[in-house]
Each structure stands twice: as structure tokens, then as C-alpha cells.
């Protein structure tokens, strides 16, 4: 474990409020990003972050000798967020399969020429993160299964390696890679449906 983290946990055990604040400064932003990315709901994300910190405050002593506090935090935050989501908002999740590209027998992408050539990538990001494109992106993120969103945030926002993410979500590296790729393809398909004709 990071020496700083160990020292902070030791101070926290002694009831040191400054240590708690330092741990919050270090970890609360990424916990919130991850929890929000998975739950897609502010109130749920807040509860997740709070619960994980309460565990740290109450059980600080059990971390000694464990792997990095950072990975532990990612792991329990992911699990708590996935649990929070279970049974909620599932109605929004659609099958990913219908948003994956189709191929013909020769391995060419299915669709007419305008569709397979659609390239909206030159559109500036600020335009794509506003208006209807933003709405499409957020609907598409909402519709992804929670496990896919967890991988998307851990890889593409937190920029962890496939191996680190595999440890955090408790899946194989192959499964992490597959989820990441399928999530990106499903989002791309839905964005292209909205933007393709305008590029």
C-alpha cells in the first residue's frame, strides 16, 4: 500500500479529522465519477460514496497489509454501485446486440453506402456534447448494462489498464476487453444513427 495512505489510515484510526479530509480529497472525486458512471443517478452515487467512506472510517484497521487502498476503493465502489442499480432503472437497459454492427457473409458491414461511410468525427466535441447529440449519447449510456458502464469508466475515464480493471470487477481480462469494445460500438452505432446524415 501507498505509504501516504497507510499513514492517513493510521491517523484516521486515532480519530484525526485532517486524515479523513485528506483521504476525501484524494479519493472522493474518482469514487463519485465511478459511482455516477455506473448508477447514472446523483443521489445513488452520493449514497455509494458515503457508504464506502463509512466503511473506511469504521474499518480502517482492516486495510493494513492489503493491496493498494486505491484499488480496494475502486472495487467496493463498483460493487456498491452495481448493487444500488440492481432492480432499478433496468427497464432502460436494452439489449446491446441490437446496437452492434451487422456484417454480411463476406465480412462487410451491413447498410447502404451513406451509412457505412458516415463519418461525423470532425464535428467539434463541444457541439457533440450539446443539444440532440448529447441527449442521444446520454440515452445510449443509460441503456448500457451497468457492468459495461463500469468498464467504460474505469478504462476510458480513469485510464486503468485492462488487467487492473479485470481485478476490480472480478472478471477476466478477455471479458473486460470485450465489454469495452462492445460498449463503444453500441454507443457509436446510436450516435451515427443521429449524426451520420449531418456530417
Amino acid at each position: 500500500m501507498n505509504g501516504d495512505d497507510l499513514a492517513l489510515l493510521a491517523s484516521l484510526r486515532a480519530g484525526d479529522a485532517a486524515a479523513l479530509e485528506a483521504l476525501m480529497r484524494r479519493y472522493s472525486s474518482r469514487m463519485y465519477r465511478l459511482a455516477y458512471g455506473i448508477t447514472r443517478n446523483q443521489a445513488d452515487a452520493e449514497e455509494v460514496v458515503q457508504d464506502v467512506f463509512v466503511t473506511i472510517v469504521r474499518k480502517g484497521q482492516t486495510f493494513e497489509g492489503r493491496a493498494a487502498l486505491g484499488s480496494w476503493i475502486y472495487r467496493v465502489t463498483t460493487n456498491a454501485a452495481l448493487n444500488k442499480r440492481r432492480g432499478k432503472r433496468l427497464e432502460l437497459e436494452t439489449s446491446l446486440e441490437e446496437h452492434l454492427p451487422g456484417f454480411d457473409a463476406d465480412g462487410h458491414r451491413e447498410g447502404d453506402r451513406a451509412w457505412v461511410l458516415a463519418d461525423w468525427s470532425a464535428t467539434p466535441e463541444h457541439e457533440l456534447l450539446a443539444g440532440e447529440a448529447r441527449a442521444v449519447l446520454h440515452r445510449a449510456l443509460d441503456a448500457l448494462p451497468g457492468h459495461y458502464r463500469a468498464v467504460l469508466v474505469l478504462r476510458d475515464v480513469e485510464e486503468l489498464s485492462n488487467e487492473q480493471v479485470a481485478q476490480i470487477v472480478g472478471e477476466s481480462v478477455a471479458s473486460v476487453k470485450s465489454r469495452l469494445h462492445r460498449a463503444r460500438m453500441a454507443l457509436r452505432e446510436q450516435l451515427t444513427r443521429q449524426l451520420g446524415s449531418k456530417a
Binding site: 484516521l12 480519530g15 479529522a17 479523513l20 479530509e21 476525501m24 472522493s28 472525486s29 463519485y32 465519477r33 455516477y36 458512471g37 446523483q42 452520493e46 460514496v49 458515503q50 467512506f53 463509512v54 472510517v57 469504521r58 454492427p101 456484417f103 463476406d106 465480412g107 462487410h108 458491414r109 457505412v116 461511410l117 458516415a118 463519418d119 461525423w120 468525427s121 464535428t123 466535441e125 457533440l128 456534447l129 448529447r134 449519447l137 446520454h138 449510456l141 467504460l152 469508466v153 476510458d156 475515464v157 485492462n162 476487453k177 469495452l180 469494445h181 460498449a183 463503444r184 460500438m185 454507443l187 457509436r188 450516435l191 451515427t192
Partner: protein, 78 residues
């Protein structure tokens, strides 16, 4: 290499995790395939957009609430 095979390895391509021979084959495919070039460009842009959309900040009000709640927990703990 078919388009389907090319698209299947895009994530590895972006991570530079392909072997030199597969990389060469993929780049040869891109050179001759406009649809796959469009796919790659929009796939990359999608990755960046989703990351940007997911880069949310905890609202200040929530930070304040969390801090107060946890400091209270810490007091009760001791």
C-alpha cells in the same frame, strides 16, 4: 482481412497491443477500405465523447454534506 475482422481488433489497435504483422495487415486494410476508416474515426471519437460525458464532478453541495456526515461518523467512532 475482412471488415469484420478489422473492426474486431480496433480496441487492441488503439491500445497499440497488436503484433507487428497483424498491425501491418490492419493498416493495409484501412488503406484500401473507406468504410473502415470512417468506422475507426467515429469509434475513436465515440470513446473520447463518452469519456468526456463521464468526467463528472461531485457537486459542491454534496461534497459539503459528505464531509459533515463523515466527520460526525468519525466523532461517534471515537
Amino acid at each position: 482481412m475482412t471488415c469484420q475482422e478489422a473492426i474486431a481488433i480496433l480496441a487492441d489497435y488503439l491500445e497499440m497491443a497488436l503484433t507487428p504483422s497483424v498491425l501491418e495487415e490492419l493498416e493495409r486494410h484501412f488503406a484500401g477500405c473507406e468504410p473502415c476508416r470512417a468506422y475507426l474515426a467515429t469509434y475513436k471519437k465515440t470513446r473520447d465523447l463518452a469519456a468526456a460525458a463521464n468526467r463528472v464532478e461531485m457537486p459542491e453541495e454534496m461534497k459539503r454534506r459528505l464531509r459533515e456526515f463523515l466527520l460526525e461518523q468519525l466523532r461517534q467512532n471515537g
